[in-house]
Assembly symmetry: C2
């Protein structure tokens, strides 16, 4: 990625990052009302100039053939008036969220009278690398401004016209609100070496957030010299424990697999406790088959469910993102926990049970960002968990785990008030 | 570092990390009382076998010549009965701290009735790389066990006998308390390639904490594939604003510079607002000179303070860790903030002022882990700020900033309780 960098490209990236850093210093000290004013301006400007944005998107769509996009990718690239409207509504929802900056998260008065406050502050400069969907440009910029961070946006080449149009409007809104325009930067070159350059600038960029395929994320994680907020795959499980209400279990299994199979919090593997496998698996399998789900089972599953095909070992380590499900019968709760901790991706795992100690043991021992009891895995999402808009779901444990909303885009500092205090001499 | 790795060394490191991972799974589900029992056992065993530890330390001291240690390094290596006693007292202080694991940090009931709990969990496996002082082995193991993490300790080669003796006792205490002995691992080979091997194992190790010189930290940060909790240098400032009480300012300046000049939260640079430079600098300089401090001033300082020698540009970017101070006269508050954000290390900076808006502007705009108002920089420390024992002070903004105690060694998960909830179809 960094084989032949032109001096121009280096200078371009450095200038971009420096201007973002300078803007971030100003934005860090701005009131919540001032940031909200800018966001409301952005919503109004995007509404007033919607035709301009849609026209730019038409240009990208017309050029889509150049990038050999699939039909699904073209659909994601399309910014219809409705999708733009939804993104603008999203800005207004971000405005309504509480400001995480300046918020006192902990405080104490020490025995010597020192007053200690732990106070929310922005991270500084974010680098956001993403693919296709240009409405994400609007979501990311709104979360970034509200959390007091400057952001450098690196969208897909195939969306450059749309992103340019959106970016110009966002900058104009910042200008109207008397905030630094440089707080939202767009990498306008389609030279892929630009990303490699930016990933080295750990003095100017505080966090990189890659959102896209696993390969993109791995490449960014390998090259970045600053922290990376990663959103890896979701190999999510539902475990039906022997005390489970079987109607409830069937409803949850169907929802977790079928309601939206292409997303990261959909179930990929069903685990069933041996003691109820005979009672549960045939009926669940029939319901799943009616919804068009392909079933890949362990030998015990295949004996109980004639429609299942034998699972290969790798089926238990695969994120299908499709109407495909692996199924395994496990001897007991501990076997289910061990399977999940070995084969899962630490994203979302659920137990269906009516046994309190089983629920408590499962939630304590399963090492995942979200653990559900008698609820569908599909609820693991910033809005559903009450955090508001999110920029991704972290499967890391460091800094942020699970949905990454405003709070997860911040850090804190200690502010200490004394009256001339000195330390014991 | 990774030029010629023997297969034996690879297997050794892999085995160590795997056993730590397995132990961490068990430790994550243990009650606070059970962990405290193990720590109290460790304190008792270390007390009972103190002579054994001190004898091992004598062996290290006898071999110190082999490692060409300086007198200061030999002093740090020495584990006197008093220092061992202090470390054991430290274990009992950690026992007294609240357990961060299982603690509900936020909760909500969603409109659909889902109950959402954000609950503290361990990070998993820590790798701690440190130099010389063997009492740190005890501190780190105590913090790690209490926070539910397994730890891999990599101390200096010069302290290996002491660390082996301490490690054997800690393992025995875990055994007595019926906790997994593998929760505390010691890298016993002195082969430096072992560190390079461990830093690649991001599937088995969740966090690396290097504590030592800047070079060690940079090397670890460059090689590690897992997150790094960094404790870089402290270039700390005191800014005396024009409204400051000058007696108070002098007291804080003397304390910040002289009370313990060799530590990271000591002041390295004094900034004085122009309007009071003539009134403050000569008296402050005289007091500092009486305490043996060498003064390196900007041209304006040198005009006001004949004892000052002219500062070179690099003096304003240097952590002296000694009785040396750089001094600069600045035109106003904003110039002080700009100087600190450019030349500081984001560790600790203080303002002495009696002006409320100056205090508020300084604390908001200075981008450092701790910002003090009318208090010495020396208060930036886990005990002084009320967090209890610490494993270091982070100058990063990601995950943890400032003192890293128990809470900073943890992550969280979302536990969600439903009653058969499925997401809208």
């Amino acid at each position: 990625m960094t084989s032949s960098i032109s001096p121009d490209l280096s200078a371009y990236c450095l200038d971009l990052a420096r201007r973002a850093r300078a803007a971030s210093r100003l934005l860090a000290c701005v009131s919540g009302k001032h940031k909200n004013d800018a966001l409301l301006r952005a919503a109004e400007e995007l509404e007033a100039r919607a035709a301009e944005v849609v026209a730019a998107n038409e240009k990208d769509l017309a050029a889509a053939a150049e990038f050999a996009l699939s039909a699904a990718q073209i659909d994601r690239l399309r910014l219809t008036p409705q999708r733009l409207h939804d993104a603008i509504t999203g800005i207004r929802e971000v405005v309504a969220l509480p400001d995480p900056i300046g918020q006192v998260r902990a405080s104490s008065v020490r025995p010597n009278g020192l007053e200690v406050y732990k106070v929310g502050v922005p991270l500084g400069v974010l680098l956001f690398i993403y693919e296709s969907r240009p409405n994400v440009t609007i979501d990311a910029a709104a979360l970034s401004i509200k959390s007091g961070n400057a952001i450098i946006l690196r969208g897909g080449r195939e969306a450059l016209h749309t992103n340019r149009a959106v970016h110009a409007i966002l900058r104009h809104a910042l200008h109207l609100a008397k905030l630094p325009e440089d707080a939202v930067q767009l990498v306008e070159t389609s030279d892929r070496a630009a990303v490699g350059q930016l990933l080295k600038m750990n003095d100017l960029i505080d966090l990189v957030i890659p959102r896209g395929g696993e390969e993109l994320i791995r490449r960014v994680a390998a090259e970045a010299r600053m922290p990376v907020l990663k959103h890896y795959k979701g190999i999510c499980h539902v475990f039906v424990e022997k005390s489970a209400d079987l109607d409830r279990a069937e409803r949850i299994v169907l929802n977790a697999k079928c309601q939206r199979p292409g997303v990261c919090n959909a179930m990929e593997c069903l685990l069933v406790e041996e003691a109820i496998a005979e009672a549960f698996l045939p009926r669940a399998a029939a319901a799943l088959r009616r919804r068009g789900v392909e079933l890949r089972g362990c030998p015990q599953t295949c004996r109980l469910v004639p429609e299942a095909i034998p699972a290969r070992a790798e089926d238990f380590d695969t994120e299908f993102l499709d109407l495909v499900l692996s199924i395994k019968v496990v001897t007991d709760l501990d076997a289910a926990i061990a399977h999940i901790n070995q084969h899962g991706s630490g994203h979302t795992d659920a137990i269906v049970t009516n046994d309190l100690s089983a629920a408590r043991r499962f939630t304590a021992a399963v090492d995942s960002a979200a653990v559900m009891v008698n609820a569908s895995t599909r609820f693991h999402d910033g809005q559903e968990l009450g955090l508001g808009a999110e920029i991704g779901i972290s499967t890391d444990k460091f800094h942020a785990r699970g949905p990454c909303g405003l709070l997860e885009l911040t850090s804190y500092k200690y502010i200490v008030y004394g009256e001339g205090h000195v330390r014991g001499e």
